[in-house]
């Protein structure tokens, strides 16, 4: 007595339904969203909330059977897919569905018209700036309200941190160190990628007083062949 339209559903029926809903919720979450909740724009937003409410509906009333939620779920996925597809094809429609970024401060000047249009008062603007570590509004060059409801801020040039270019310094290239040992297991392909061999690794591990790879919890190597080693205790 779990499936179908049930007038008086028993406690056990609800418990079994809860397990099934849990599994459905997992798959809905797995396939519905590639973006994180913070990145959602208007039409995604509708989807997330309604999906959540729909998925749990069989737990609210015994008369709501699983077939009643599957069709609306698929319908929502269908429309969402259609809108995503249109957004990729046409920029105009994409801006309609996803929304346009709105400039709130342009070159240091507050655009009052845009603030009013989106019901943002000065207090809220200041508190959003504070969250971006800007306590003095005169330091800001641009503030943009993004379609996902977040604010992005760009400081005036003179207020930005000094970078190596300003001082004509050469800086190390950004590189992602490769993991070569993870929990005592050696990754040979990363060893080859960094152009070293196992003998080289063992020689260098000896400097860390390690004689066996299984004693290493994590070892990474960067493009300058610099090792980082974390031992197991």
């Amino acid at each position: 007595m779990v499936f179908g339209v049930i007038k008086d559903i028993s406690l056990e029926g609800y418990i079994i339904r809860t397990f099934i809903v849990g599994i459905i919720a997992f798959f809905v979450g797995r396939y519905a969203l590639k973006r994180t909740v913070a990145q959602l724009t208007a039409y995604d937003f509708v989807l997330v909330w309604v999906l959540g409410a729909l998925t749990v509906a069989p737990l609210l009333d015994g008369e709501i059977s699983f077939t009643y939620i599957v069709v609306p779920l698929l319908t929502l996925f269908f429309w969402h897919y259609i809108i995503s597809f249109i957004s990729l094809k046409s920029r105009k429609l994409s801006l309609f569905f996803n929304g346009k970024p709105i400039i709130l401060i342009d070159d240091g000047k507050i655009i009052i018209k845009n603030l009013k249009k989106h019901f943002i008062n000065v207090d809220l603007l200041m508190s959003e700036l504070r969250l971006k570590n800007i306590f003095d509004i005169s330091e800001v060059k641009y503030v943009i309200l993004e379609p996902n409801g977040h604010f992005s801020t760009i400081k005036k040039e003179s207020q930005r941190p000094v970078t190596p270019t300003d001082l004509n310094l050469f800086s190390k290239l950004v590189d992602l160190p490769l993991v070569i040992i993870n929990d005592g297991k050696l990754f040979e392909e990363n060893l080859i990628k960094s152009g070293v061999d196992k003998q080289w690794l063992m020689d260098n591990l000896a400097m860390y007083n390690v004689d066996n790879i299984t004693n290493v919890y994590l070892a990474t190597i960067d493009s300058f062949k610099k090792l980082y080693v974390a031992k197991k205790d």
């Binding site: 309604v50 809220l124 306590f135």
Partner: protein, 232 residues
């Protein structure tokens, strides 16, 4: 298909009827978020959060329950949206009535005990917030403010901040806002005009990149130093 059961209550719904019900409600909710504006997805206040949870439940139950009437959902969503707009308007016009004020928790490196209990934070919470905001040394914190949106802002003392260009008296070049100028071969004339550029400038930039046809460009981005970044 029975038009009556789509809009009013019935005993059961078939697949097509469910599809139509769900579609109508989906587009109503979409229109509703569109009207409520951008701030909705950002969920800036606990109030926004409640509104979103509520309205989606109203719609969802109308999609799946054959005994509920779709015609009820339509005015509910409209009125709900209007209330939300009204409260957003109040936030704008009279913030003191609807929203909480920011609470100052640390001022000049000193804890304000009274405000800490007002914000319902324990000392452990406080230290954890400071760590998350990269301010591990409480002595170096000038201000810690609990914002009305539920987030926390931290100001560290000026001598603990990175050196800025103005501190070193470096004269920086003036930047502009980076924007999409060419989107799949189409030039955005508004942005062109706003930055006082001309088509000749674009063609010159294209020539220096060995591209003769503007339609070959997938993305042309105006960079902060007024150059054209081209991705064919």
């Amino acid at each position: 298909m029975n038009l009556y059961t789509i809009f009013f209550k019935g005993e059961t719904l078939n697949i097509l009827e469910l599809f139509i019900r769900a579609s109508i409600l989906y587009f109503m909710l979409f229109a509703s978020t569109k009207v409520m504006g951008f701030r909705q997805p950002g969920i800036l206040t606990s109030y926004n959060f409640l509104m979103a949870a509520g309205i989606s439940h109203i719609a969802a139950s109308r999609m799946v329950n054959p005994k509920s009437r779709l015609v009820d959902a339509i005015p509910i969503i409209v009125v709900y949206t209007l209330i939300n707009l009204f409260i957003s308007y109040l936030y704008f016009k009279a913030p003191s009535v609807v929203s909480q004020k920011p609470i100052i928790l640390i001022k000049n490196g000193k804890l304000i005990k009274k405000n800490l209990s007002k914000a319902k934070l324990t000392l452990d919470n406080l230290i954890s917030i400071l760590r998350q905001r990269n301010a591990t040394n409480i002595e170096k914190v000038e201000y810690l403010i609990a914002e009305s949106t539920g987030d926390f802002s931290v100001a560290v003392k000026n001598n603990a901040l990175p050196i800025t260009k103005i501190d070193m008296s470096i004269e920086p070049s003036q930047d502009i806002l980076s924007q999409i100028l060419i989107y799949k071969g189409k030039v955005d004339e508004k942005i062109l005009k706003k930055n006082k550029l001309s088509y000749d400038w674009i063609y010159n930039e294209l020539k220096s990149n060995n591209i003769d046809n503007i339609n070959d460009i997938y993305l042309g981005l105006l960079t902060t130093d007024k150059k054209l970044y081209i991705s064919p």
